[in-house]
Amino acid sequence: MTMIEFVDVHKSFGPKRVLRGFDLKIEKGETFVIIGQSGIGKTVALRHVAGLLNPDSGAVLVEGVRVNGATPATMRKLRERMGVLFQSGALINWMTVAENVALPLSEHRRFPKREIERLVDEKLNLLELGDAKLKTPSEISGGMKKRVALARVLMSNPDIILYDEPTTGLDPVMSMVISDLIRQMQRDFNVTSLVVTHDMKSAFYVGDRIGMLYGGELVQVGSPEEIMNTENPVVRQFINGELEGPIRAQ
């Protein structure tokens, strides 16, 4: 069953054409990784799924429901089933870790306070963050921020999680911890994931399929093994970090 679908999506910012006929289908429970250079449009593609950007033309569908042009009520329903792990974590700075994690439920007052506290403890313990409960985001490390943000995403039990550069700025061990968590989400909760990253180690570890974005479209889509053994010069240059090749520094 297709969970996320891009159909001939075009998106430009002024004269810069970022997506040019972007097509992609992501199946339920699959982890799809978009790789590509910085500033090539990976995050732009991801934001279309969340409805944070609208395409100039084409369609973005989540479980067959068109995201672009959705009514506020439809968008609210779609977003209830979706979570985004932003690159910066996007935690609210004046709130404690526990308050941040509780936010999706406490703001809507759907659950009693005690039930929210129980769920917060559950998610924080799952991500080994119990000790940081009363700290503010400025008092914790970058890796912990990402885990707190993930705990917040998990509070609404999403079917889809969108990860925007989840390992950027982290040390190799913490990158692996986050990559392992992404795998765990898929294994334990059958979450459909879209990951955008240029961290190749993480991409090969978490991805069921990987697609390389270049020139506004996916130039190759395949399993990690296929990408690793690719003959495509663009993909080969990118994954091996070679200076010579068709990709020029932007």
Partner: protein, 268 residues
């Protein structure tokens, strides 16, 4: 000849183009700010659960600005007393100084001084804080959780500033009267009794309620403009700086313009 005329024509078109785009920008921002304020007022129904955030913002607007408000209040009163008192002394009417200070402070200076202080200290902080949240995806994160940024961020700030602005204005007026009393007594040789007697004479209901209304409207303007610029910040830290600067300039201008119209409506 023809080339010169063409060049002048192109420059003229360029000038109109520039004026047109600036006007469009202004109306776009003004419209966005008005809609934002309307939406914030709509979310007033959700104010009770946001009491903690509202009180925090009131604390920033009131308590945190206490020192600067005190200094501005006292020195405004002292300057007013000195400048006008010396002129009044020429006519032997320096005993009227209390009347003059309370009239000018309640009608115009009190709310205006409060607006200047709170724009510079609180409004700029609001624009910078919300702008930073915008560029670091925190606003998008709220939207992904179906939490309205207007309800979560804007409404508490609008309520807090619209409530605190009249309080700060009254505080500045009181301190200006005290500052004026010191100058009146020490430099103009007006006794405290005479000063207070004439100050009481200058207290009228209309200037007080118009002054408080002005302060309330200034609170709405400053919070609305600051939040609007913050929410529309783009391009990283540079964008936050630009949003902060623009919010302060726009708030000052709007306070002056709207202040004039309120004066014209009630006294014109």
């Amino acid at each position: 000849m023809s080339g010169g005329a063409n060049g002048a024509g192109r420059r003229l078109i360029g000038l109109f183009d520039l004026i047109g785009s600036r006007l469009m920008e202004f109306f776009d921002q003004a419209g966005y700010t008005i809609l934002l304020l309307v939406r914030a007022l709509y979310y007033l129904k959700d104010a009770p659960p946001k009491a903690r955030e509202i009180f925090t913002q009131m604390y920033f607007a009131g308590v945190k600005t206490l020192v600067v408000c005190s200094l501005v209040g006292v020195f405004t009163g002292m300057i007013l007393a000195l400048q006008t008192g010396i002129e009044l002394q020429n006519f032997g009417m320096q005993y009227q100084i209390g009347h003059l200070i309370i009239a000018s402070m309640t009608r115009e200076m009190g709310p205006f001084m409060a607006a200047i202080i709170l724009t510079a200290s609180v409004g700029s902080a609001m624009a910078a804080e919300i702008g930073t949240m915008k560029v670091y995806d925190e606003i998008d994160a709220l939207e992904m959780m179906s939490i309205s940024p207007v309800k979560f961020l804007v409404m508490p700030r609008v309520v807090a500033l619209a409530t605190m602005m009249p309080v700060v204005s009254v505080y500045i007026i009181v301190l200006a009267c005290l500052g004026g009393a010191v100058v009146a007594n020490s430099i103009l040789n007006v006794s405290f009794n005479v000063y207070i007697k004439h100050l009481y004479k200058g207290i009228h209901f209309k200037p007080i309620y118009v002054g408080l209304l002005k302060a309330f409207v200034f609170g709405l303007i400053i919070s609305g403009v600051s939040c609007a610029y913050g929410l529309r910040a783009t391009s990283g830290e540079l964008g936050v700086g630009h949003a902060t600067r623009s919010s302060v300039v726009a708030s000052f201008l709007m306070v002056l313009i709207i202040g004039y119209f309120i004066t014209a409506i009630f006294y014109g």
